[in-house]
Symmetry: C2
């Protein structure tokens, strides 16, 4: 029987294990860290994530969507918090459309538990991938507890070991492998809004909260226990930056000035700020995503992106669903399957990487802008009247399965049209007119 | 005394050794390969290179320009070889302006010999840099002959160890280090045109010869012994590619069809083709180029570029001359000097990388085009009448010390103007008119 090694038991690796197990392959999953179901892992990764349509589709293929939905909190829109406390809200899509706040750890554990139910899946923890012999497809691991070296010869290797992938690192040494890692000047730090005493949420739990402040921002996503996990996206250096906030007083002063309506909800602010790590934001691109018929990269290993479109996990899960669809009429030609998958997905990985960086500017700056909100209102009207002609970019990315690269292209076209419309005199008064509607339709 | 380690005794490392020795520092140069003055090194790197103004300036600072000029062959322009044997020539600059064909090995050995004359310079060969302790700035080397490990603690480390730099590899593991390596779909292979029996050159030795063929090309640069080194730049895969030429017959057939006027000059063609390596063409970008006051990257280590602008060595030598200029009023603040140098040079390294890729299309395709040659003629006229208003991009890059990033910007502006002019009806007849001249001047 075909022996498949999955390197990395994170979200994508665990989901892919289920999908491959369903096909009857022998699946061995190797994970560098201990089993997160028994050992609490240290911080440094986001606590919750926004799951949307692309992710749900892949979870459904694995038959785990219903189970996950039980602990997912729908967020129907953004709520923007101005410095003076004014709240503005903006729906993400139509009516019941939502993105869902899920616990990273909870989701990962659920996927591992389901994978574990298959007899043809085995998890191996504390196994650091040290090297791969590309001739024999033999993996070399060191056990971080015993320091012993193990080898495993796989027919296929799925590299789902994240932004700093050991599998990709091996491929980086092969001839003509393109690779880039690019860091933002901003980092992030997680903070917390605890629940009320009765376990309810302190602010609207069915929304993603944003405190947009131009060069930086804070966001908050709800958790099932009534708390919110806040994330401060902030420059590493400069006037307002992680480097500039050194003392308790600095932090309190800055938060009181900048996020006054949040401070009262964050009793552990100072402690969280100094205890929790400051993490970088990296974009990784590479090519090719496969090595012959032996290795395929998925998820952050081939396309680590910044979190501002909420598509990191979703794009990784979409790798799994696209791979599943492409192997529907599989005839045993792994070289073709891996090469086709790599060629098909690579432009989409690059596109969502670029979209995610663009969306940072939108979230931290534009959402506080009236003209931006009007633009969204016009687009929403178009979408509701002419859903076949105009789907806003956000909806294409979040609530459709349109390839990211197509969405990026269409989004640019729409942006050019809307730039033209928004430049019209008195657009604030005439935006809802038939004339404007007709003009947009003529421009499409 | 300040102890400086230079990692890499290639062109840039050897030149920098001289410049630092002149200031009185203790300079230790570590080189992975054996001493090329005693051991012939295997092929895989270009045999000759085009030295131009930026390179000469740095060589002059080191006092070695006169010595180098003795064995440098001026090339005053390009000679294009059409399939039917027609030759077209195009001067590179004004009158006596030329780029110079020099032997890579000869130049490197000359620089090493001159550096060796300083008592405060020591070369260490067969020393592979394995690691750097960034806290102590201690380098770890393995001797490739004895397999022994050596350590050396440096006050400063200059990483001049090329496109696959071990020093940069260490920096890639530091937080938030941006890095990219990008390969062209083309590779290159060196071939040869031997001298006539009397030692003279078989074709015009004072020119760079190009056989432009659209998707690919061959070039030839003269050597002092009467030979030419030809380089075939060719796709790795596809209809006409390294992959498609498998047999002697394939090679002969292809060259007879494609480079008929060259085949007769290349008696060793088939042997060279199968014996010489096929090498990839990589572009490397990274940031930052320095690590605190400890490490600085120069040359290919921080900006490996493709060879189509003849600026790989020249940009590396310019690193040395700019560093020299910036340390003119040095006050001992290495942190500032390294950071200033890195900040100043990084955009220029990126710009020449982009220009070099652009120039590949110009060389292999456009130089065979009449409209392109007319464009160059118009630009030449402007340059000769209004040298302060219009210096062609090629001249800015090759015959000036304008920062590459400025040249790139100005070149784009000029291109937009020339696009407008070349679109005029009957431009072939009216190009020399006063009207056109005035129009261009009004557009500048």
């Amino acid at each position: 029987m075909e022996k498949i090694a999955i390197v990395g038991a994170g979200l994508v690796g665990s989901l892919e294990a289920i999908l491959l197990a369903k096909k009857g392959y022998q699946v061995e999953v190797f994970e560098r860290r201990p089993d997160m179901r028994f050992v609490e892992l240290s911080a440094g990764r986001s606590i919750n994530l926004a799951l949307s349509d692309r992710g749900w589709k892949a979870l459904k293929m694995a038959g785990v969507d219903e189970k996950i939905k039980e602990t997912a909190i729908p967020m129907y829109g953004r709520i923007m918090h101005a410095v003076d406390g004014t709240l503005t809200s903006q729906p993400y899509g139509k009516d019941a459309q939502a993105i869902y706040s899920v616990s990273r750890g909870g989701l990962n554990q659920t996927l591992m538990n389901i994978a574990d139910q298959y007899e043809n899946v085995n998890f191996h923890f504390n196994k650091t991938c040290e090297d791969i012999d590309l001739n024999t497809n033999e993996l070399q691991f060191t056990d971080s507890e015993t320091n012993q070296t193990n080898k495993f010869k796989a027919d296929r290797i799925f590299g789902t070991d994240g932004a700093f992938s050991a599998v990709r690192l091996r491929l980086q040494k092969t001839p003509r492998f393109d690779f880039s890692q690019t860091y933002l000047k901003h980092g992030y730090k997680e903070l917390s809004i605890p629940p009320n005493e009765d376990g309810t949420h302190k602010i609207d739990k069915n929304a993603l909260h944003i405190w947009p402040r131009g060069e930086f921002m804070m966001i908050a996503l709800p958790n099932m226990d009534g708390s919110f996990t806040c994330t401060l996206f902030f420059p590493f250096e400069g006037k307002n930056s992680f480097a500039s906030l050194q003392s308790k007083e600095d932090v309190l002063h800055f938060f009181n000035e900048t996020f006054p309506d949040a401070v009262g909800l964050m009793p552990d602010l100072v402690n969280d700020y100094f205890e929790n790590p400051t993490s970088p934001l990296v974009t990784v691109k590479c090519e090719p995503w496969n090595y012959e018929d032996k290795i395929i990269l998925m998820g952050d290993a081939s396309h680590a992106i910044v979190p501002f479109y909420g598509q990191g996990m979703n794009s990784g899960f979409e790798d799994c669903s696209v791979f599943e669809e492409m192997s529907a009429d599989f005839d045993g030609d792994w070289t073709k399957l891996f090469a086709d998958f790599a060629r098909e997905r690579k432009p989409n990985g690059d596109a969502i990487a670029d979209l995610a960086i663009q969306n940072f500017i939108e979230m931290r700056d534009k959402v506080a802008d009236e003209s931006f909100l009007l633009r969204k209102k016009i687009e929403k009207k178009l979408y509701s009247k002419y859903p076949d002609k105009w789907m806003p970019l956000y909806s294409q990315v979040t609530f459709s399965h349109t390839p990211y690269s197509t969405a990026l292209k269409q989004g640019k076209k729409q942006e050019a049209i809307m730039d033209q419309i928004m430049a019209k005199p008195e657009i604030e008064t005439i935006w809802d007119s038939n004339e404007i509607e007709q003009e947009i339709l003529s421009l499409i």
